[in-house]
Point group: C5
Chain length 324, copies 5
């Protein structure tokens, strides 16, 4: 589905037009100072076909853009650059992954978004407000789109970090272990999902700055380096959360064991105290005929006193040992 | 055993013929625009011998193709390319590994499949329907075979992912831990088996695109890059499942410990309650002569009431502490 | 906010002046043997604007310097070098991270510090005391600042190491496990925070010595190598603490389990001893008419003796088995 | 100690002779189409000295060959190649490590075996049966020796894999955990021993194929690549066993915990049942005068019935909860 | 502090002399076939100053040599090579780390040892006994020192390996777990300390053989490769111990759990047996009037017999189940 399409000369918008109007499109493409920027979403192969023929898009790239479920990548097909990025968004308290594919040639840029509600209208507006930057051509648009995609990762990684911090608050709280392990596990899953968007994109971005850069992007390498740097920060944050998560899971297991051990101690202590009481009572409950103390007037209170004293002594000792 | 054999000129099938008919074969090979595509399965060294002589196949490659149990690889022998890939298939609810070896020269391609029911008839059909692609020659056939092999990994990795999700459903279910650890272990084993097919193939594919590419494959690097990209996706999915599996195993252990701890608490609580009852009963079961309460008319109901009250109080406190 | 600003000719300070006085600044910049060193802190984009125009600072670099929350990096923009480093400091017994950004050109160096109380006055003083070194120009100032930043990591890593050693003292102390796991977890978090400052900086420093070095820094590579070496030492120490921490967490879990096991044994032992006493007492508390021993004159003492003997025997055996 | 020695011209054996007979040796060495193959075992520095002088063997290589306890390696000394490989063998149900060192020059190959019963007589025989291969010279002999060494790793890794499978059979068997952890630990130790032979050899083999290859081996790189490929397969199998072992050890720990938890539950259940019985019996064992039920004719059977009913009810509930 | 100093011409000692005698030193340095070898220990900056001036030692290198606490490294300063190595020694049953710094120029070598009792007198003696090797100049001395340092790592790693083997003897011994975890932890700490000496040195040695080698060392690369090889062996041994240690710690935790589980079972068993006895005794201790069996002449022995029989049956069943 077409979102919008416009032609830009020297960074300034010339006109909005329908890219399916081949005459207008042809006129713009024949002007060497002009490039067209076409934004599509949830596109079928049929919708892309006219562009494929006109811009010589490689069939494999078109397949990738329409089929979806690609991993983030940057590929060169001749003098064209084809990029796929993941759009990560919160949907119903879980991370949902969409995609945006960008075809970028000397005088055109086509973006195809799919499976996500995130849009790039703001990117176009901002670009149009800065003609001195936009006049660098399609590769600047590619940068602007990448930058927008990466900027949307920041709040997500922040959210994951603050979730971790929240769990950390209760990690040493007795009795919260079951809840904690569930939340840690869920957090790990989300983190891995985000990581699968970030890690290959970081790898791919290294093709656009430093080393051998596609000719198309040679004037904007500093911008791509900046995106790569932001992404590296996100990646470092993810790795850090991941590492801390692993430690938190171990700490949680330790806490379960410590908690269990405390209960075992308490159980041992009370069981001991009552076992003593029961044993003493059992002794004086025996039916021997010759048990002189049973006949003493103060036998019963003395027995009770003895039992209470022994139990009290045990209680005090267990208390001191930290078992109670 | 021969499956089929045909000669192709400019991407169009010329004729099916027996590769053991040397006259016909020689005629096709002498035509520079023609290549032959021979498909074999479960081949002995004897069956390969005529081709080895005719196409100058290296003895080490022939050995690998007939002996089986190779790891996935791509090797150059002079201007020939020799590739081995793993075919992964579900047999009796377990992963079974077969192999396909492909000899690829300037005017021939020989595929030798072994130890698997998966076949490539569909690949030949699809190639024949697209002569403009098939005219790129034997390296396109090599690509088509690789693509078919890799495409068959997708449902398997999807299956493993959904198995993991299924286990995740019950990972925090009390009492399911024994079952879960068994299933996690089994899943891990399958995953490792798939990984042994995927990881070396990913590595080997890097020889066919980017960097120094065999001359034979120089016109189809973009296709091999696409296969590599699919494989990288599968590999990332495997690594992700693997990482999540490790966390799941830890979470499972935590759950066992949490479950055990809950039982210990309950045990402690009930043991405490009954120990109190027994101790009180033991006290009044003593045989002292001077125990005035034993003579009171309402002594027995009062004692029972006291015991029940104390036990009830304990029960309430344990309940509140979450032990019961 | 401006901290200070001075011009240096051949390593000797010429004068302190306000960098916003464009005439003086222009005069110094026009002298090829002179460079200016401007120190700022917590700067807004507006404060940097005059310098951005005058020194042709790249907008992305200026953005990074004012926005903060960058990861440590070294970037070349044309013949300028832009570096960001993390300042790590103890604030309220926790690690606080600030930043310092340095713009370094052929005849100027601008440092922008933010979010930290750590300052670099000492660096300027020391540089001014060694004109023969300072005459190497702005890249020596860059080195001096880096060296100061890295030198401040040493006491922090030492502190973390000694915290670990302190925990190690009590790691095998029974009953200290809960405290230990908390401290180990806290230490791990601090360590990861320091690591996020050190690891990318180590990586970035490799751009300033060995391999292709920015022209600006070509005369001071040996100094940058020295900083890199210090940093590598810190990094190795961090990795070592990290590795030991992981082992300590495992050892702590083992200790909890060992402690729990000891308690279980003790519980088993005492429970066994009293269960025996209670069982014996219960036997002689039965109301059978024909129990001859109940009538024996020395029946009671004998029974008591038997109970004590059996219990004592059990006690002795449990003692010998190490359960008590 | 000398095993055997022969000269080969164009791949065909010329004669067996004593390498200490310098005249014969000299005659063979002066013929450019001839090379000599000397096999030694458990050699002292003295025995090697004549060859060291004659073939210009480097003193460090000679030291390595006689001292033993080297790690697998391939080193170039001028135009000579020196290789050390580990011989792994089962001795008394444990893995024993021996070594073979090979000096390889343009017209000679000397193999020195030490600390192992494994011999290479079969290698020489097989080489002599294939003169068209052996005529490739000393580097083919080096290949043949390496191939023989690596071929002997296969049954060992197979054995370790089947040991793992055997343990896996009983990993979820209750009560086998102690035995399993012992066997897993033992298996891990053996695996690490094999790995120390395989991993450095894999690394070293990359020097003999692909990249810069010693001149001596340039005609046989395809053979060395084949050995490397076999070794990579062994290495992958080792890593796979290693990874599965780690999971098995975790699964074993989970099983211990699950087993323990089951016992705790059963203990809790039976303790609860008998505590109830004892408490009830204790109640009616009290000596209050006014306990009307004691006087009822059917009091005793009713009490017994009540006790049995309550215990039965508990038993049934515990049964249903899976505790018994 | 000066240890000794001598001049060598063509590998033969010319004379011992004081390096502070500048006339003699100057005479030797002016002879192109002569080099001087100065050995110092625990040196202050002042002691090094004359050499710093004379041999143009870089201030950063001098700082490193006098300050200590460097990580192992090899650095080039112009045509000089500066190396720092760790000396590892047993002091009071713990590993103590000292350092040796070596300045190596075309006609001099200065070694500065600090913080260790290990000395290099034997190295000088051995070198002087082999003039044909020593005539290779200062880089051979550097090699000889490195070789001596590395040779001293071997007994340490052997000691750590045999400590591990000793612990392994008792790893499955019931009751030794507390001791084992302590020893494993201690071993891990020592291992990490050794590793911090070995790992960076291995990395640094790669600069002295293979790839771009400092001119000074170009004639002795084969010797440095040999040292690197020894070090790689030590490193592999360390990694192997480390890996086994991790498994041993896990196995130890399993053993604690297994041990605990065994105790729990035994506790459960005995508690069950005595609970049955107590319950039966409690039944017959009830005070119902109509309990016919109490009046039977053989009631008591029958009751005793029943109790013993039931307990015996339980004992036998628990025994068979492996709980006792």
């Amino acid at each position: 589905m077409l979102i919008n399409c416009a032609a830009y000369r020297s960074g300034v918008k010339v006109e909005d037009f329908s890219p399916y109007d081949e005459a207008t499109l042809g006129r713009h493409l024949s002007d060497p100072d002009t490039f067209v920027w076409i934004a599509l979403r949830d596109t079928t192969a049929e919708e892309l076909q006219p562009f494929q023929r006109l811009f010589h898009l490689h069939e494999l790239a078109v397949e990738d853009a329409t089929h979806g479920h690609q991993r983030p990548k940057v590929e060169e097909y001749g003098d064209l650059v084809f990029a796929v990025m993941h759009l990560v968004d919160w949907v119903d308290a879980d991370l949902s992954i969409g995609e945006v594919a960008v075809f970028c040639g000397p005088n055109f840029v086509i973006s195809v978004r799919s499976g996500s509600r995130l849009h790039f209208l703001g990117v176009r507006e901002r670009c149009e407000r800065e003609p001195h930057l936009l006049m660098q051509g399609p590769s600047f648009v590619l940068y602007a789109l990448m930058d927008a995609v990466v900027d949307r990762y920041f709040p997500i990684v922040d959210q994951l970090e603050s979730e971790l911090e929240e769990i950390e608050q209760s990690i040493f709280t007795p009795g919260a272990q079951l809840d904690n392990i569930k939340r840690l596990y869920e957090l790990k899953r989300r983190l891995m999902r985000l990581r699968r968007a970030v890690a290959p994109m970081l790898e791919m971005l290294s093709k656009l700055h430093g080393g051998r850069v596609p000719l198309l992007c040679s004037r904007t390498t500093e911008y791509f380096r900046d995106v790569a740097d932001h992404l590296a920060r996100i990646h470092a944050a993810i790795e850090s959360v991941r590492d801390t998560l692993a430690t938190a899971i171990q700490a949680n297991l330790s806490m379960v064991a410590i908690d269990d051990s405390a209960v075992t101690k308490r159980l041992a202590a009370w069981a001991g105290i009552f076992a003593v009481a029961t044993a003493f009572a059992g002794i004086w409950g025996m039916n021997f005929e010759q048990m002189p103390e049973l006949k003493w007037a103060w036998g019963y209170p003395a027995a009770l006193g003895l039992i209470v004293s022994v139990c009290g002594l045990l209680w005090w000792r267990f208390r001191r040992a930290g078992w109670l």
